[in-house]
């Protein structure tokens, strides 16, 4: 798109196509294209290279308005991980536990997904790989809030610095399950404040990502986003709208099934991958 000699109608069409197919959504796409058209007119340029640079700047600027550092200063720092089904919550927790262990932090993982078949075993396997402690439910189908409570309790008694709590995947439309999340949070807060609530979003998601974010913010008080499966062909442009509409920053990025495939969010790198 940017390899041509001058900016013409085709360039604009291609730009629009690229943004839409990157899941930015039609509204954001229109905004960005309008914005860039104005800039191109203002600087009176015809060089696609300039356009590319401006696009990168625009995106970087918009992605870096929020502070993406994790706040884990509390002891124990409690991290609640939430999201819809199949976005990669459990895998993220495994990687995150390892990520923290690399910084010599002690970690306990609470297996509060007591609903899905074998979810406890799955997170336990990850915890083991990451060298983290694990708190399992005492019986099958135990109330997730009580597992969360026990996890925090365990962290306090054993002086563990960070407690990560896994929750069952739930679609944002299920009122009862969303209330359960509110309850988990409330129960944890009886013992200690929650440091971070991370919402895991799948990069392949389309415009529904925004609805997911809104619902989880309302019910669980999300403080940060984790974007997973960025190693695929999906661009995850929808997170720009999510970040801007909700004011919640992206904090972590998942890029594979290996235990080290989790990094912090850097707008520069992210945009680089997005537009090349």
């Amino acid at each position: 798109m940017f390899a041509k000699r001058t900016i013409d109608d085709e360039t604009w069409d291609d730009l629009e196509t690229a943004l839409i197919t990157g899941d930015f959504g039609i509204d954001v796409t229109d905004q960005i294209v309008g914005d860039l058209r104005a800039k191109v007119a203002r600087y009176n340029t015809t060089d696609p290279k300039d356009l590319q640079r401006m696009l990168r700047e625009t995106l970087e600027e918009r992605f870096s308005t929020l502070d993406s550092t994790l706040k884990l200063t509390e002891r124990p720092a409690i991290v609640l991980v939430v999201g819809v089904n199949g976005v990669g919550k459990t895998t993220t927790i495994g990687k995150f536990a390892k990520f923290l262990a690399n910084y010599n932090r002690t970690v306990v993982v609470g297996a509060a997904d007591t609903f899905r078949a074998a979810a406890v075993e799955q997170v336990a396997t990850w915890a083991e790989r990451a060298g983290a402690h694990i708190v399992r439910p005492q019986q099958e189908g135990q109330d997730p809030a009580s597992v969360a409570f026990q996890t925090v309790d365990y962290a306090k008694r054993n002086n563990i610095e960070i407690a990560i709590i896994d929750t069952a995947g739930r679609l944002q439309t299920k009122g009862g399950l969303m209330d359960e999340l509110t309850k988990i949070r409330r129960v944890i807060e009886k013992q200690a404040p929650v440091a971070e609530v991370l919402l895991v979003l799948d990069a392949t998601t389309g415009q529904n990502g925004l609805l997911q974010a809104e619902a989880f913010i309302e019910h669980a008080g999300v403080t940060g986003l984790v974007l997973t499966k960025l190693d695929g062909s999906a661009k995850a442009g929808f997170v720009l709208a999510v970040q801007e509409r909700t004011g919640i920053p992206i904090k972590l990025i998942g890029q594979g099934e290996g235990i080290n495939d989790l990094t912090g969010f850097t707008p520069h790198v992210f945009v680089q991958n997005l537009i090349g």
């Binding site: 959504g25 078949a117 679609l171 389309g206």
Partner: protein
């Protein structure tokens, strides 16, 4: 997204000025097509598919077809709806069973699409039809996927073949291959092979999937895809088509609020039919795919058929008849009110049910403000009344109301409001039950009483559910809900003058019925008249 409302709203807006012309100029068509394009993109339909699709709609809309239109909005929506259904596969296809058992079904898809859960659902569904399915654990990648499949199999009451522990140990191709022999030996007639989730860009993993396909020679390869997926659906679908050449598609997580444009993209790009839809976490939440319903969903036209089915599931038929009778004879009591409310709660989320109504897009605001717990509070108030009070609300004097308020943890104002609302509602319902047209403040007489009136009977609990502490707000909410249901179009944001709203409202009100309109209306009425 939200700022633009749903497609039918937008089209209604576009056609506001065209209503009398009854004819579309090319410029009108272009405006319309732009709106359709936007709606489809918002629903995550892939851009290429949108382009092709809008091109076809444009052609048809400009052709002779529309010129005989009575109502342009209606016509265009109908064209769009028809085209959508055509692409989505018209008739739902059945699973192809092998002539000589076992029938082999292989599942493939991205990580987290819901393959393992689906394997269980499919197995349970087949078992119910007197098949003997065998689940094969060929996902040896994800930690404890094998255990998950074993648990799922136990829940579904079917057999599982899991010779390898998984977590990276074992060869999935070998497992898949051996499972066929095992199935023939043990006389299972359907083999369902669950494979690991993989990305379309992961060449090694796609090769592995292709090898599994070769090893088991499946009768069906089902591509499992999440209804929430965005533009990437096309790239992924193409990669899987090249890799494992799937024969059918399964759409999962349809119980969410994603519009599921991916369905259209995948069907259109690969030409493979969507066979099943998965709609919840319980193993029974699984059904054959209905292209017509999906079309309505993508267009945000509401889903009347599903709504009717859900309502039918929730409402006890006899109970409904009794209630209707009670309305007629004016003996509807607070106890009945309570019963209705409890029944309705059994139907699941009220928001979801209302959301399925066409035109509900315009009510999103009200829906968001509407608190489902309000129903619980109302229940508490009624349950704090004595039997006598429930039967005869006129008994409720000041001191009784204070007692009820204390008993239910609410204030006297809440109690007063409830009683007032109940009286209003029962008065209105009586009118409807007698075949009249209720007067709703700010709405004027209702056109299309046959449709509206019929709906009305299903209305009471819903209407009563929607309330706010502020009487003025409540009135608008109620009006909005009623207008959304009865004359989708007359309500909305700007209250149209009574009657005149109908020409326009028709576009929205009748558009969803555009496809199976008569059948739909008939079944709706049959259900409501019982």
């Amino acid at each position: 997204m939200a700022t633009f409302g749903n497609l039918s709203d937008r089209l209604a807006e576009t056609f506001r000025n065209l209503r009398t012309k009854g004819k579309l100029s090319p410029a009108d068509v272009d405006t319309t097509v732009r709106e359709i394009r936007r709606a489809l993109l918002d629903a995550d339909v892939a851009l290429d598919v949108v382009k092709e699709f809008t091109g076809r709609v444009r052609e048809r809309a400009l052709g002779g077809e529309v010129n005989r239109a009575l109502n342009p909005a209606q016509q265009v929506v109908q064209i769009v709806n028809e085209e959508l259904i055509t692409i989505l596969g018209g008739e739902a296809r059945q699973i192809q069973f092998a002539k000589k058992p076992p029938t082999v079904i292989m599942l493939a898809g991205l990580q987290g699409a819901g393959k393992t859960t689906l394997a269980g659902k499919l197995a349970k569904w087949l078992a119910k039809q007197q098949h003997t399915p065998l689940l094969v654990a060929a996902d040896l990648q994800r930690p404890n996927a094998v255990q998950q499949l074993e648990v799922v199999a136990r829940q579904a009451g079917v057999a599982v073949y899991a010779p390898q522990p998984g977590n990276g140990v074992g060869n999935p191709v070998r497992v898949a291959k051996d499972s066929i022999k095992w199935a023939i030996d043990k006389q299972y007639d359907v083999v369902i092979v669950d494979t690991a989730g993989r990305l379309g860009v992961d060449a090694d993993m796609m090769k592995q999937a292709a090898d599994i396909r070769k090893a088991v020679d499946p009768d069906e390869v089902l591509f499992v895809i999440d209804a929430m997926i965005g533009q990437d659906a096309v790239a992924t679908a193409k990669a899987f088509q090249a890799g494992v050449d799937f024969t059918g598609v399964v759409l999962t997580k349809l119980d969410g609020d994603a519009r599921g444009g991916a369905a259209l993209s995948v069907a259109s790009v690969t030409g493979r039919p969507i066979i099943f839809a998965s709609t919840g976490e319980s193993l029974d939440d699984f059904e054959p795919f209905h292209p017509d319903r999906m079309a309505s969903r993508i267009l945000d036209l509401g889903d009347i058929l599903t709504l009717i089915e859900q309502a039918q599931g929730a409402f006890d038929e006899e109970e409904a008849a009794k209630v209707a009778e009670k309305f007629r004879t004016d003996s509807f009591t607070l106890d009945d009110f309570l019963g209705q409310m409890q029944q309705l709660r059994g139907a699941g989320s009220l928001k979801k049910m209302i959301g399925m109504l066409p035109g509900a897009g315009a009510m999103k605001e009200q829906l968001n403000n509407f608190d489902e717990r309000e129903i619980v509070r109302t229940e508490a108030i009624i349950q704090s009344m004595t039997k006598a009070e429930r039967t005869n609300p006129k008994l409720l004097n000041g001191s009784r109301r204070v007692r009820i308020a204390r008993g239910s943890g609410m204030t006297v104002t809440d109690v007063n409001q409830l009683v007032q609302r109940f009286e209003q509602a029962s008065k209105m319902m009586k009118t409807v039950a007698k075949g009249g047209v209720p007067q709703i403040p700010g709405m004027g007489p209702m056109p299309g009483a046959a449709f509206g009136g019929g709906r009305g009977r299903q209305q009471p609990p819903k209407k009563k559910g929607s309330k706010s502490g502020n009487p003025a707000k409540r009135a608008t909410e109620n009006a909005a809900i009623l207008s959304g249901e009865k004359v989708p179009g007359a309500g909305g944001g700007t209250p149209a003058p009574a009657g005149t709203g109908f020409g326009l409202g028709g576009g929205r009100g009748e558009a969803p019925a555009g496809g199976p309109s008569e059948k739909e209306l008939e079944s709706l009425q049959k259900f409501l008249r019982r």
